[in-house]
Amino acid sequence: MNIATFEKAILPVKDKLYRFALKLLSSPDDAKDVVQEVLMRVWNNQFNAEEVRNWEAWCMCMTRNLALDRLRASSRKRSDTIEADMRLVNDDLTPDRSAELSDSLETVRLIIDALPDKQRQVMHLRDVEGYSYQEICSILELDMNQVKVTLFRARNTVREKMLKIDAYGL
């Protein structure tokens, strides 16, 4: 693989990788570093190109692993950083508190960010990036059943919380 091929075949995926890394790390700089590292690894691994059937899924998988390593290394629990924001979507949400949520899109973001890691990852890959269940299985190294159950739980949690906020807002 030469640079021109790399530029044409691999680089266009960079934004997808960035979005996924950002979802996991919540830091644009860290997400950018992870994407750069993934791209360098793809370049170094080019001699095994024939072994990797789906480069995009391979890159996404690598992004996930590197992002999780980074999280572990910094011992920063992502859920802790949004704990404060989380209170507004908890079960003990008060009408006063929900009235503060003027931006509904921001509310949705907070609800999704408050999901457990696996649910958030599956929902992002399916609903934002539009991957098939099979691709999600290979990226997250899960079986089909686990992916479907996780997605079902994620979507329904989001739905319930949105309806609850909407009911309080009325």
């Binding site: 640079i3 509904s104 949705v108 539009g130 329904n156």
Partner: protein
């Protein structure tokens, strides 16, 4: 697109039974049209998902930086390959030279150990002969060495006799 159809798609969506195309329809519907009252509570979800798709790396130099690093790494690999090839070529030339010299030397001075005996008894006799010859040579050499030693001793004695007696300085 009528809201009935969207309601049906949404039901499938919550059960995770929608295809990727149907999910795309939902996102597009909530992005483009003003949803009816019954769908308004769920619209922000699809709007958020659609909006999330637009997120990109904002750094305009990112691609340039990555490609620059790749080019540097590529050059380093090429340099490493070039140096390795140079060393390999040097070693090859050396091995070839040694091999050719060895062939030349063998041509001019055929090795005495080239022939061997196939019969063990003859080989044993020949070995015995060779060892006997070595032993004889050692014996002769020892005799010569003894003579030399005698000569040395006599020479030493003559030297001692020729030296004048030193005066006694103790008095």
């Amino acid at each position: 697109m009528d809201s009935e159809h969207i309601h049906r798609l949404l039901e499938k969506y919550w059960k995770c039974e929608t295809t990727l195309e149907e999910e795309e329809q939902l996102r597009r519907y909530f992005q483009q049209s003003d949803p009816p009252e019954t769908l308004r509570d769920i619209a922000p979800l699809f709007q958020h998902l659609q909006e999330s798709r637009q997120t990109e790396i904002v750094d305009p130099t990112f691609t340039k930086k990555v490609l620059g690093k790749l080019a540097t790494r590529n050059k380093a690999t090429q340099r490493w390959l070039y140096n390795t090839m140079r060393i390999a070529a040097g070693v090859l030339v050396l091995v070839l030279a040694v091999w050719l010299i060895r062939i030349e030397v063998r041509k001019t001075d055929p090795s005495p150990t080239a022939d061997t005996y196939s019969d063990p008894e003859i080989a044993f006799e020949e070995t015995k002969k060779a060892l006997l010859m070595i032993s004889k040579s050692f014996g002769r050499a020892e005799e010569q060495a003894r003579k030399l030693n005698l000569f040395n001793e006599a020479q030493e004695k003559v030297r001692q006799d020729d030296e004048p007696n030193e005066p006694d300085t103790r008095m």
